[in-house]
Symmetry: C2
Amino acid sequence: MTHPATPDWLRRMGVELPILQAPMAGSQGSVLAIAVSEAGGLGALPAAMLSPQALRDELAAITTATHRPYNVNFFAHTPPQPDPQREAAWREALVPYFAEFRLDPAAIPPGAGRRPFDAEAAEVLEAFRPPVVSFHFGLPEPALLARVKGWGARVLSSATTVAEARWLEAHGADVVIAQGLEAGGHRGMFLTDDLHSQLGSLALLAQVRDAVKIPVVAAGGIADARGVAAVLALGASAAQVGTAYLCCPEATTSAVHRRALLTSPEAPTALTRLFSGRPARGLVNRLMRELGPLSPLAPAFPLAGTALAPLRARAEAAGSCDFSPLWSGQNRSGCSERPAAELTRFLAGRMAD
Amino acid sequence: MTHPATPDWLRRMGVELPILQAPMAGSQGSVLAIAVSEAGGLGALPAAMLSPQALRDELAAITTATHRPYNVNFFAHTPPQPDPQREAAWREALVPYFAEFRLDPAAIPPGAGRRPFDAEAAEVLEAFRPPVVSFHFGLPEPALLARVKGWGARVLSSATTVAEARWLEAHGADVVIAQGLEAGGHRGMFLTDDLHSQLGSLALLAQVRDAVKIPVVAAGGIADARGVAAVLALGASAAQVGTAYLCCPEATTSAVHRRALLTSPEAPTALTRLFSGRPARGLVNRLMRELGPLSPLAPAFPLAGTALAPLRARAEAAGSCDFSPLWSGQNRSGCSERPAAELTRFLAGRMAD
């Protein structure tokens, strides 16, 4: 049964609850998205780290398992110019860690790991016509965006400032996600790189809501039904929740990441550039402490992560989270091992269902 | 008429609305406190920068003007050991600015400017028996706290982390103010100096509410009735609002500060140590840009501000806010020149009164 607070734009496509599951690349795939959508929320598939074939497979998995609406999420960044000097300096900074693990820095694989939305991805999408497509770091170029809108998809994108919300509305977004500073993972910021511009969820939502006419989804710091009620009272159309889903059995969150989330409810998080090159919120770990979470040594997004991969793999195999991105928002009180459907109903205040 | 959301602890003392005016040293005195209390909220007198005589005069002004309850606010910091080397380095860093304004650095007046709550202040208070006394930076020593509670005052103090909220409850606070990262002015942090520990209002409130049994007042990013409704939905007992009161005619906010608040609704704020030695949120201005807002050059609280006083005076006289603390939260949408009583009713959703 449709929740009384579910906004029209979600109702019309058949979503029952005002709950969006935040796409979390590296920590989930179709299985989590299916569980959330089947429970009445809007599940999301993060596609930023998927090859075209993997994207096709995941979309096939979703559409085979559910007839409910779902969201596919992409990054919309401009890939950086290669900067061999900067990348060499980064590898140099990591040499002591490679030595500690007896790893060969020359064996670092090439490759960036995260690709922006492109024509190839659009072509894969077109065969499935997903009802919702969301972007992080702005929007793709107009022709690509028009192609997505061509099959009737609702387009969502994240704003971290009032100016970004206005820009997204003016450039064709149907819904803006106000991503407050509490949120885990990558800041969606795309018009500024000044971290002082980033606002807490309460302050951001109150101002974005007054600045745009399109619906606003609140994200950042929401982990229970009272959090959802709070952002709805403030004028949000729906709530997007990420961190609370990270420990669900349907997520693919690593063992070290799960343990960190569940065992340190009050440990500090920080915005860090170390794992990708763009600021993202995660639990403070050894690499962040030793290099500084915002170290300018990390190359431009998305190049920073590649060099860390061997260290991360070796450390995780030994049960250590010292070199892993431990993405987390500032409110981990919703993290538990409960199934995603149960969490989705809990967030909507429907525990009795 | 009492607002249905006003909690018992406020009702019992005769406060009608679930609205606390945040004490703002340097930007207001008894006049604002009286206006808010008369309108049915809880007005506050910031006492951190008042001499005992000035405190007595202000309390006399309040109790003459209103029979409604009010709050008196103090800092509870431990004054630092003098560190002549560090202070000399700070003055050295400011020499180019003194030269620019043709000011003599040798003419910097001595003195700290902000004193913690002490026996002398308690003696002044005792004659007035204020119904609410609030503290920032923890609580005063047990004997002083017992003296305040001796006349039946409710004791409030600010928590910026879950650990601080638990500490305050364990050490005798009757109510904890969850001060989210959005809030303007000084962070109340006292158990940590790690800024990564600081949480957005939504994340902090949700976790503090579950960690303590005493009532929790939400602060940070609240600027209208929907913001108040949001924090009440999240479990707050009441809302504390500061920034929105800064431009009321009853505030003593400087002309350059008022102009900055009203003319740049989306300008970034930052936490800065430059003006006092402790992190406080204000609009980014020239001094913050040029020295870095968290520069380690600034001496320990409250010593940093003294050396800036001549620069600030000279610049403000010329209409410049380059050297002034422009305290501001992350949501200035409530700032206007409306009277404090009107703002108080607006915050409580009672515009028709």
